[in-house]
Amino acid sequence: MKKILILIALILGISSTSALAHKVIVFAWVELGQIHVEGSFGSDRPAKNCVIKVTDSNKNLVHQGVTDAQGQYFFALPDTRDSDLLVELNAGTGHSGHWTLTKDELGVAPTPKSLGEKMAQKQDLEKNPSLVRILSGIMVIFGLAFAATWIKKRKKDKPNA
């Protein structure tokens, strides 16, 4: 048991030096007549120099650009706003993310309150995974391992019963 605890501490200790998330996060919102796009790999890790493609619901290209050093990109609202817009960020080597701007968002000027809600939504997306989530995942793994062992043992014991 002591050896197993040492093993857990050794392997998980290696992994607990820095807890940061890895996923491509794209967030887009309308502000001051412009569409703002921000890409990141989580908090404080902007997706720099990544290609942004904006398409309408018929997959027609509406706009294309590249994010700056802060992972941001801005462009003027398109003249025709009769379709939702899909904002895609390609970070290369199989990493991409997307965000949908609904036509309702495009047509209405945002209020300070709605902008505040958008920013809160953005921060929520960029948050690192909580300790509860990490521990829940580990518990599920151990639960599955014990369930598999129990099922296997039951199968073994059945012919003898």
């Binding site: 392997i11 998980l12 030096t17 990490i134 995942g137 598999a148």
Partner: protein
């Protein structure tokens, strides 16, 4: 290392899913159910390792630890890595469920490969044990990069260009994982040799 959803073609996703199902089935048949706690510990390490990051250019790479998982588990690495990937997808939104099969192949197949390539060196001498661990960690990432390049190549990307980009981005991770795996295996051989497959088998023979 996790390919995002919506990047790969349907055919590539289907091939990845089939290989994963076959690998996981074989892995579940081969796993020693008395040692399931080892599988769970290593699957947990793999699950958590992806939270450690290195930013290189526009790409953010993270630790994978498939080398140590493969070296110690062999074919059982397939179900262990698949379980961890499902949970990473659900809990951290990494990769995505449709790309799960391909991502499992990319990370589990090299893990199994390094087990057969480098495990015979483990235990010969302390120096060889560390070298075997280093090579397992280093090449498991290297092989994963090649598999990732192949998956992207079949989805209309330039194979050589993509592979160079992926390998270049992962060279620091290959070295870091090599060192971690080397130290891990050397340490485990000293304090908990039963986790190593050869030691487990020789122990069983002695008991028999």
């Amino acid at each position: 290392m996790h390919i995002s959803e919506g990047v790969l073609s349907g055919q590539v996703l289907a091939v990845g899913a089939v290989i994963t199902i076959v690998g996981t089935t074989i892995g579940l048949r081969k796993v020693d159910y008395d040692q399931m706690v080892h599988v769970a510990i290593l699957a947990s390490a793999f699950f958590v390792a992806s939270l450690i990051h290195v930013n290189i250019g526009p790409v953010s790479v993270h630790l994978i630890l498939n080398g140590v998982v493969g070296l110690l588990l062999g074919l059982a690495a397939f179900p262990a890595i698949l379980t961890a990937l499902v949970l990473q997808s659900l809990f951290f939104q990494y990769g995505g469920l449709t790309a799960l099969g391909v991502n499992a192949v990319i990370m589990a197949l090299p893990a199994v490969l390094v087990h057969y390539l480098f495990l015979p060196l483990v235990g010969k001498s302390p120096k060889l044990t560390f070298i075997a661990g280093f090579l397992a960690g280093f090449f498991s990432i290297g092989f994963s990069c090649l598999l990732m390049g192949t998956a992207l190549w079949f989805t209309n990307e330039d194979f050589l260009k993509t592979c160079i980009a992926i390998v270049t981005a992962h060279v620091p991770v290959m070295v870091i994982e090599g060192i971690i795996t080397g130290f891990c295996v050397s340490f485990l051989l000293k304090v908990y040799p039963e986790i190593l497959p050869q030691k487990k088998e020789s122990g069983k023979k002695r008991i028999g």
